[in-house]
């Protein structure tokens, strides 16, 4: 409708290319071939005979033969041709479908074929309706009457022209022979049924929304246009290409490997929830389930990426790395992921944390990357952005993939998991049981609630870890073996991390504990809401929940104090939180002690200091005092080397003996 379009014109003008029209026209020409086309017969009206009528079944049979498809498809194709207006029905002219019987159809004249180039004008429609009105008053259908009235209103200014045209056409038509006139009237009527369908019918001409680029416009060819093409093409040529055989081989192998895991191709055990309404399959395959299924464990063997992206797989891998004392690699990788996908506000602090924990000389969880990568990383850390640790992360990823992954596959940890993995039996439901299942359908948990449950589970898992298993390098200091209890307040703090970050670690890295503990304390401070369930969890999706100011506050404190390993650990102690201004008092002792008032169930903090590389100097952990001053004094006494961030200038504060 022209007027409406101009009002709502956002520069979106052009009709989508209806490429199907060309294809339909080709088929139409073949169909009309006198020798090889569809057989036609004359149609008898009261006294006149009109040639070239064809039956529905003939059309379908011809299409099935020509296109080599089955009858149902040929019928669909035929209906499409009718819907587009290339063939029109002689009986029941308003239903644009092919009927597989002796109903009669006729080919539409090319004059009335749909064209993509211009929309069908309302003016022509108005003339047509006016003409019909002249011919026999009151013959217009209800919807046509409504259209007529509407057009009369909108086109009032050219109504004289329209009426004049209508009369002229009517007069000209009268001069034709009767058979021609009848045919022409049928054709015209069919044309308008296609282009101005009655309300409630599906129209093939309904193409949705317009597109902006004019399909009929000529492309402008400026020198700039060509130059851009040339630059792009030159770059393209220089890009390395892999041999087709290699690439295709990989694709085929992928399909083959995963085909037994594809629910469309293979059965799933115990049963497909969509078929039986029984959700055991989903329950068994929750992200952080205790015992995984055999299919899931099998997927971990397909590629390192699969292992890492599955939270349960990652946990298993983490366990293995812990035993090998190379957990810092995974921790670093996870921290980099967290940096990449976290909120922009927390980025520079996270980058600093990562540097202090993993990259700096003498860092507590120092990772082993080559000199060049380290150099690049350190340089770019001066201006931290989301992808600043990309090179280092890739290096560590490849290291884990080439080295640790292989060993993991052969390790007792993996073998144990594989042995314990469940392979459920197939369900065999009777019809009555299926009905029962359908009645018992429960709504799915929202991902938000799901994450909360996962964290609860992880907390339980963390609570069960043997706290006496400390790193063999450190002196056993029981009073520092505390639990970390972090609550996730989903409603208050939107967690932006991707699902694969929502995992737990039995062995929280200092970064995460630092980040989480701060956030936990803040949340506890805010925890006046009823929703503050305070479910203890070992690790929150790191970092994402923390508001910038408090994070900055605690981290600034961290930085001011310098970053010796001991102070790093010390700062992770609960006292840091009291310093951060919360009212919670957390005892740095065993898990049994309830730390706070009953509503807040966060108990203690847990720390396993195991992932320290042998090269690192191990500092005796000082006994904790509540005073920051005392802590500062003890820090000075440790005599540890300060880790100074390359971008921080040396101030008297930072320089310690």
């Amino acid at each position: 409708m022209t007027i409406r379009n101009t009002l709502r014109d956002h520069g979106q003008r052009y009709r989508p290319r209806m490429a199907c029209l060309k294809k339909a026209e080709k088929v139409m020409l073949e169909m009309q071939d006198p020798k090889t086309g569809v057989k036609s017969q004359p149609q008898r009206l009261v006294i006149t005979t009109i040639p070239h009528a064809i039956t529905g079944e003939d059309i379908i049979a011809w299409l099935a033969d020509r296109l080599q498809v089955d009858t149902q498809e040929a019928r669909n194709f035929g209906s499409m041709l009718v819907a587009l207006g290339y063939i029109y029905p002689l009986q029941d002219h308003k239903r644009l479908v092919i009927k597989p019987d002796a109903s009669l159809y006729r080919f539409q004249t090319p004059y009335f074929w749909p064209t993509q180039q211009w929309p069908v004008e309302d003016t022509d429609y108005a003339i047509y309706l006016a003409k019909r009105n002249i011919r026999k008053k009151g013959i217009l259908e209800l919807h046509e009457q409504e259209q007529y009235n509407r057009l009369h209103k909108w086109m009032n200014h050219k109504w004289d022209f329209i009426v004049m045209q209508a009369k002229e056409q009517y007069r000209a038509a009268k001069e034709r022979k009767k058979p021609d006139r009848v045919v022409f009237e049928c054709q015209e009527r069919a044309y308008w049924v296609v282009h101005r369908p009655p309300p409630g019918t599906v129209s093939a001409m309904d193409y949705g929304l317009d597109r902006r680029i004019d399909p009929n416009a000529e492309e402008t060819k400026t020198p700039d246009f060509y130059e851009r093409i040339m630059i792009f093409t030159q770059q393209s040529i220089m890009r390395p290409r892999v041999k087709s055989s290699v690439s295709i081989g990989a694709m085929v192998k992928y399909c083959a490997t995963y085909s037994s895991h594809d629910p469309f191709l293979s059965k799933c055990l115990p049963s497909n929830p969509w078929l039986t309404d029984d959700v055991t399959y989903w329950t068994l395959n929750m992200p952080n389930v205790e015992i995984p299924t055999t299919m899931r464990v099998e997927r971990w063997t397909f590629s390192f990426g699969e292992l890492l992206s599955d939270p349960r797989g990652r946990n298993d891998f983490r366990l293995f790395l812990k035993k090998e004392f190379s957990g810092e690699n995974l921790a670093f990788w996870e921290s980099c992921e967290d940096l990449k996908w976290g909120t922009a506000a927390t980025m520079s602090e996270k980058a600093e944390q990562i540097y202090k924990t993993f990259l700096a000389r003498g860092a507590p969880r120092w990772i082993n990357i080559d000199g060049k990568t380290m150099e690049i990383t350190l340089k770019s850390l001066k201006h931290p952005h989301r992808y600043v640790l990309d090179a280092a992360q890739t290096h560590i990823y490849m290291l884990m993939k080439k080295d640790s992954y292989g060993r993991y596959m052969k390790s007792p940890v993996f073998k144990d998991t594989l042995k314990k993995a469940i392979c459920p039996d197939e369900h065999k439901f009777s019809d009555a049981q299926l009905e029962q299942n359908a009645k018992n359908r429960r709504p799915s948990l929202s991902p938000i609630v799901l994450r909360q449950l996962e964290l609860e589970q992880k907390a339980k898992m963390a609570a069960n870890v043997d706290i006496t298993q400390l790193c063999r390098f450190t002196t056993p200091v029981p009073h520092l073996a505390v639990y970390s209890g972090i609550s996730d307040f989903p409603s208050a703090n939107a967690s932006p991390s991707l699902p694969f970050l929502a995992h737990t670690t039995a062995c929280p890295s200092p970064i995460s504990v630092a980040l989480d503990s701060t956030s936990a304390s803040e949340r506890r401070a805010e925890a006046n809401e009823g929703e503050a369930e305070g479910n203890p969890a070992a690790r929150v999706p790191a970092g994402g929940n923390v508001s910038k100011s408090r994070m900055a506050l605690s981290l600034r404190r961290l930085l001011k104090r310098g970053c010796t390993p001991s102070t790093m650990f010390a700062s992770l102690s609960p006292k840091c939180h009291s310093a951060a201004g919360t009212s919670s008092r957390i005892q740095p002792i065993g898990p049994d002690q309830p730390s706070q008032a009953p509503p807040r169930r966060i108990a203690n903090f847990f720390q396993i200091k195991v992932d320290i590389p042998p090269e690192c100097r191990i500092y005796p952990i000082e006994s904790e005092d509540e005073d920051e001053e005392t802590r500062a004094a003890s820090r000075g006494g440790v005599g540890a080397k300060e880790i100074i961030c390359p971008w921080e200038s040396l101030t008297p504060q930072n320089e310690t003996g």
Binding site: H10, G11, Q12, P16, R17, A19, C20, K23, L67, V69, N76, F77, M80, V202, D206, G208, L209, R211, I213, E219, K221, Y226, E227, I229, T233, I237, R241, V242, K243, S244, S245, V246, S247, I248, M251, V252, Y254, C255, Y258, S259, D262, P263, F264, L265, N272, W274, L275, D277, V279, W282, W341, T343, D390, P443, S444, P447, I448, P496, S497, P499
Partner: protein, 340 residues
């Protein structure tokens, strides 16, 4: 005039060079490589659930990462989040502009986005207090309609628009981080690679482009279609791209070897492809067409192995859930159907 002629000749010779370079690595074709593999048997899926509730054409749908929730957008001005198992509506979000053309579900499940003729991408926070869903951001800078949007995380989203550009936005600040310009026609759809480093866009200039998200550059361009590309998707291993076009064909392009591998076409199909989704293993390709059906293709052998017929109007969107369990189709007949 002479200058333009020379430039044109130079551009053409470069194009020939790139064709030659592509041919040089082509030591086998997909047909040869799969000659020994048999076609997948006939795949028959039935409608397991019908999601009723929209009152007008459904233009887009997107599964959530948990494989049970999905969001759909319709031109009745509503964005509905469905619990597909029980067919309950978890959220029904009224939109300011009813001319919506796309919707997306964030991987975390916290946000949904939609956009359309209002040229804006509106982000809604599903985790609002007391279940209230509110607009979190309105990303406005496009000069054309929003045809597709996809979240990278809760802080970044990529949109494609009718103004021929794709944009990477920072949701928190509501600003454009990178503008990916290069297409000569409306960008109709986009898909993000499984490793989130690249994305591909299909446009009305008959080409698909692979963009590097970090660098902001177009890495590769794939041509070959004869009409607008309406739908695009990554093969699950991230090394191949599938496009669906108005010319009723789908094409598979190999990213690493930089060439077109195969075309999924049939003389019996005349209507354009509106949407497509690969199955979990990539072996099956489900494509929705204008003739109200969804055709299931064996992606390696390029043969049709199934049809999903059940809609009374054009299939406008299709999606396979993250665990590959079910496929959801949305249509202009205002219903969504879950097939399995």
């Amino acid at each position: 005039m002479g200058e333009i002629e020379e430039l044109r000749k130079e551009a053409d010779s470069l194009k020939d060079q790139i064709t030659a370079a592509r041919k040089a690595v082509q030591d086998t074709t997909l047909q040869e490589a799969v000659a020994s593999i048999t076609v997948v048997g006939r795949v028959q899926m039935k409608t397991r659930k019908t999601l009723r509730g929209h009152l007008a054409k459904i233009y887009a749908m997107h599964w959530g990462a948990d494989a049970k929730l999905c969001v759909s957008a319709s031109q009745d001005g509503k964005l509905i989040v469905w619990d597909s198992i029980t067919t309950n509506k978890v959220n029904a979000i009224p939109l300011k502009s009813s001319w919506v053309m796309t919707c997306a579900y964030a991987p975390s499940g916290n946000l949904v986005a939609c956009g359309g003729l209002d040229n804006m991408c509106s982000i809604y926070n599903l985790k609002g207090k007391d279940g209230n869903v509110k607009v979190m951001r309105e990303l406005a800078a496009h000069t054309g309609y929003l045809s597709c949007c996809r979240f990278l995380s809760d802080s970044e989203i990529i949109t494609s628009s009718g103004d021929c550009t794709c944009v990477l936005w920072d949701i928190e600040t509501g600003t454009q981080k990178t503008i990916f310009a290069g297409h000569q026609g409306d960008c109709m759809s986009l898909a993000v690679s499984p490793d989130f480093n690249f994305f591909i866009s299909g446009a009305c200039d008959f080409t698909a482009k692979l963009w590097d998200i970090r660098e902001g550059q177009c890495r590769q361009t794939f041509g070959g279609h004869e009409s607008d590309i309406n739908a695009i998707g990554f093969f699950p291993n991230g090394n191949a791209v599938i496009t669906g076009s108005d010319d009723a064909t789908c094409k598979l392009y190999d990213l690493r070897a930089d060439q077109e591998l195969i075309t999924y076409q049939d003389s019996g199909i005349m209507c354009g492809v509106t949407s497509l989704a690969p199955s979990f293993s990539g072996r099956l390709l489900l494509a929705g067409y204008d003739d109200f059906n969804v055709n299931i293709w064996d992606a390696l052998k390029a043969e049709r192995v199934g049809v999903l017929a059940g809609h009374d109007n054009r299939v406008s969107c299709i999606g396979v859930s993250a665990d590959g369990m079910a496929c959801c189709t949305g249509s202009w007949d205002s219903f969504l159907k879950i097939w399995n």
